[in-house]
Symmetry: D2
Subunit: 368 residues, 4 copies
Amino acid sequence: MRAIVVKPPKPGVEIKDVKIDEDKLSTIGLVKVKVLENGICGTDREIVSGKRTSVKPPAGKDELILGHEAIGVIEVGGYGLKEGELVMPINKRGCGKCLNCLVGRPDFCETGEGLVAGTKGLDGFMREYLYDDPKYLVKIPPEIKDIAILAQPLADIEKSIEAILITQKRVPIWTCDDSTFNCRKALVVGTGPTGILFSLVLRTYGFQVWIANRRELLENEVEILEESGIIFYNSAGGYENLVKNVGKFDLIIDTSGASASIIQHLVPLLQINGVLGLFGFPRYDAFSLDYKTVQDFVINNRIIIGLDNGQKPHFQQALIHLASWKSLWPKTTSKMITKIISINNEREVISSLREKLPGEIKVKIKWE
Amino acid sequence: MRAIVVKPPKPGVEIKDVKIDEDKLSTIGLVKVKVLENGICGTDREIVSGKRTSVKPPAGKDELILGHEAIGVIEVGGYGLKEGELVMPINKRGCGKCLNCLVGRPDFCETGEGLVAGTKGLDGFMREYLYDDPKYLVKIPPEIKDIAILAQPLADIEKSIEAILITQKRVPIWTCDDSTFNCRKALVVGTGPTGILFSLVLRTYGFQVWIANRRELLENEVEILEESGIIFYNSAGGYENLVKNVGKFDLIIDTSGASASIIQHLVPLLQINGVLGLFGFPRYDAFSLDYKTVQDFVINNRIIIGLDNGQKPHFQQALIHLASWKSLWPKTTSKMITKIISINNEREVISSLREKLPGEIKVKIKWE
Amino acid sequence: MRAIVVKPPKPGVEIKDVKIDEDKLSTIGLVKVKVLENGICGTDREIVSGKRTSVKPPAGKDELILGHEAIGVIEVGGYGLKEGELVMPINKRGCGKCLNCLVGRPDFCETGEGLVAGTKGLDGFMREYLYDDPKYLVKIPPEIKDIAILAQPLADIEKSIEAILITQKRVPIWTCDDSTFNCRKALVVGTGPTGILFSLVLRTYGFQVWIANRRELLENEVEILEESGIIFYNSAGGYENLVKNVGKFDLIIDTSGASASIIQHLVPLLQINGVLGLFGFPRYDAFSLDYKTVQDFVINNRIIIGLDNGQKPHFQQALIHLASWKSLWPKTTSKMITKIISINNEREVISSLREKLPGEIKVKIKWE
Amino acid sequence: MRAIVVKPPKPGVEIKDVKIDEDKLSTIGLVKVKVLENGICGTDREIVSGKRTSVKPPAGKDELILGHEAIGVIEVGGYGLKEGELVMPINKRGCGKCLNCLVGRPDFCETGEGLVAGTKGLDGFMREYLYDDPKYLVKIPPEIKDIAILAQPLADIEKSIEAILITQKRVPIWTCDDSTFNCRKALVVGTGPTGILFSLVLRTYGFQVWIANRRELLENEVEILEESGIIFYNSAGGYENLVKNVGKFDLIIDTSGASASIIQHLVPLLQINGVLGLFGFPRYDAFSLDYKTVQDFVINNRIIIGLDNGQKPHFQQALIHLASWKSLWPKTTSKMITKIISINNEREVISSLREKLPGEIKVKIKWE
């Protein structure tokens, strides 16, 4: 079948025929999924560019099928899944050994031996067909099929917020005097898809949300953020003005994925009992905090937390949230998919895997 | 202004002019809300029939304005609420003394001195205007205004499920091997609005859901339950057949509000580590459990839990869920409001407050 | 080797030689434990009397070695256990299948296939030697060896209180205004070893504790309860006087193990948001609650919870508590072991397994 | 009355007569406490040396009574406290405004206006008498009076571990396959009283514990750590050897209070899902982490958490733990109080407030 293939660590990507053991379905417990569409993510482009050094093909191979965002339709069902149902495969798979993987939470895998489709030891989803275990397939409601591809990146964010809210249970009362989060201020750094999705979920949880970038927003970004009441701040001149006007932040999420040095600018913006969530990877540089900032961090019960990967419950939560946004914020949801490319338009597929266009939120590849 | 008024414990109800201290807005912290619509609930009818003995007018009065479900529009705003915004008032108000009320959770008020609009010591919402504290007003997204009146009864259910899920944290792993609730079976007893809403929320959380009544479903009820995959069981002949085919239940919710004796039929249906949630009030009779059933209850870590009232975070969660249902289950949501009556159609308003029509889910009174 | 053996469901008990496969140690992962002492518990006597119908010998056998409370010394060590170390075996063993058993919590086993030494499908600990898996052996600090046998019954109670405290997290604030439990009132029904241990743990957690029985306390019971400030109430005339003087209870634990009807007398004593914990088995009769009591139960967020079995973390917690009591309440701890019988005094061992003596708290059998 | 007094920010300390409004007891809700003993802590010495810049006398005064560790006896009781009872005052007091303070948890005060006896805006406990609110007095069991002064520093540690364990609930299973913490490895950096107490509590919770310092242990330190199985590591040559032999750590606590740069050496020692707890204040320098370490931190779900202050429940927990240690580790507890100085021995009191002696764990001042 056709698939989008990389040969890490070499840069480059191609669409080519690959052989998949066609009798895999005889393996107990698998169903056959025809892939309908894939989402392209920054990680894919990093792999294609050869910059992501941690990427690994399946054991014994030098090629890797790319892609960790996909929607497909069941062609040969079973085990509770019926022909014609829409599904999304989950990218992170368990090690089969540690307790977290046994209870369905490979995102906290302790052995480090869990595989990740499209990036770490397991072929990805950019191909005509999958043969997969229903445990790792999430049913997609047809009513929101147009935006459902967002459920994969959103699942990571749902898990992140779950982790943060559990962490904040250490504070006896972190809710407001009406028991909501309406008085809590969150700052999301970065206006890429991840920053936008984080902001939307935080709004859904009732937080006041500021989103920051070091440039002005493009027009479509403005429209996406408007409906849900997210406030934009241009941080090109630093955060002083923001703090002067708004105060410190109970929750800060860094999605910038650029210089690690941003962390030293964000820690001092934290409110008492505040949390700095690190999501995504800084690409260069370092950060430094002096002893006075550390003292302040300690005396004010602050936390820095690493955030990663969602699992099946987070995919399902993501779908509920996407469905609610479709009703509540129709303009926002209608602008999140910025481009749909046919797999037959090979040149544009390859080009989209190489480069992000200005104003892009999410690009989908359509298999037909 | 006009209002719908009762004189408990006398049966009866009338629409009449009432005097409200018009300079209340000078009180610090209040806004003025023009009521747009009210929902009618079984509790209202019980009060009108004179059967609900616990109902109390405000201190020093013998009249009570009815109603605890309302949507209004801000006429005089302030404190974060702007003219023209839609809001829903919360019915349960804090005692101002106990810690739970201080942190915004009068649903767990410890003094028992909290008031409840329309039923206990506080005038209700069936009237032209409210002067209220924004702390007790929930913003309603205009996009779901048509079904938003359901957020009040749904808030009670959101709180109930929150309470149950916290309670089940006593079981180290109550999720399935994919960390979802997809393998868990819930039985909801009663097909009134509460039973339906409970079933829909449990589906949203990923549970398998059966709903039971001692009669066949009406056509509109069938249509409401179909889309979300809720399975109906006619319990006229008992629950034996159900358990034989489906097994025992991890979660059972009684919303029947009839004979207390049903409890003795439900407890033996509980799975190991299972929960029986009692929501709403039985009206007569008693239940009895023999020592062997109690032994079984103890050795299998079961729980019976009383469920009541939601607060602001539950109203907000209810709105998110309603919005998601509008996308996911459009047929269901379009059939939940079974009738809209103009306040000017006095005869039908009174008649609707007296009697539930067959097939009714939710009836709204429209102020105009 | 010698062992204390029953043949359920026949009444009776004997000390006799039994054959145990002596090369069991070659099985990977086992150590050899020489039993030093056993505790006698009410369950043992029920089995001996033939009244406990649920007791089962190991599969394919008609004899069962009795006993689920033991302390032993490692004779052949390994896997982190050294010769000479004191250990206590855990009675409840996992099914090896369900997630709760996989994470070390067979007390919430979902398959119902877990075994229990001395009562359900597994030989007990009243014998010269055990060959056991270190996962099920708890290290006993020699410093508290004299009272350590109490760690087994106490473990069940530690787990029960853990389950209750998690359950009460559903109440946003169940602690007092100093964040302790010092204002919370607990009533423990029953003054047997279980009732006493429950009361002591609740005191340790800071609760005010009343303990009730329908007779006056014996002198040694008075002395045991005095030091820790537990207050005795004679409930022969009902609970009216208690409630009149003390008010309702936030937590009630029934350890009486007699008539199930007591439950209907205890439910109305519950405070708002209160919990009734059922520990141990009622032996006869039934309880009945009328619809008004159920209404009250619902509107006040109450809970009835079945409590059972502790696992390794609860045994370890029990040992810490016993050690603290030895310092804090030396008189109490010195009076908990009311008799020590040599295994060689066969007549008295058998007689103690048949009948509880007045004033008995815990009787130990000593192997020598 | 006599008191030990400082005039921050000036260095120095003196024992002198101070005037306290003697009719304070007429204030509703206070009791009179005669101070029996004080503990000296590193913070006291920092204040005396003039190095702690954050210290503040009560509003409008330039003198501050020193001391935040004390045991006293009730002289004029009331409100549940009786004459002759032993009590320990809590140092951190609520702001009276924020929700955390209202529920008894000033350690998470959000306004920053809470006061701390002996360091921030409130006179400390090194004086003949206190007039205090029973809400802030913890009953001390006479049986452990000799070591009870340790409950104050220990309370901070109990709170810290509580915060960490709640935080780790984000990991579905952070316990071992027997549901204990016995497989988890903790590293405590620093062998001062705080490091030792942290290690002892972690042992009590079942962790494997290593304690590190950049020098060899003194003889009395060896004896204190031996009984409870804490393993010492000399980190003068870095942590490489430790990790090579033992592996990475699930939990690392820094109590060193010296250079902030140590943090950059500790972060890379964290296991997957691991926590770095910062307790106490670094005094100089900074730490720096490069982007690769941050990537690793993110992908492995790690956390850095600031730890501070305990409140009443933590004092009570500390007393239970001290009582258990007295039974379990008698040699350890007998060596924790390294010196007792009479207040009348003015020269030695002052000298002890100036300088820590080699081998000192806890020095007590005795009032007589």
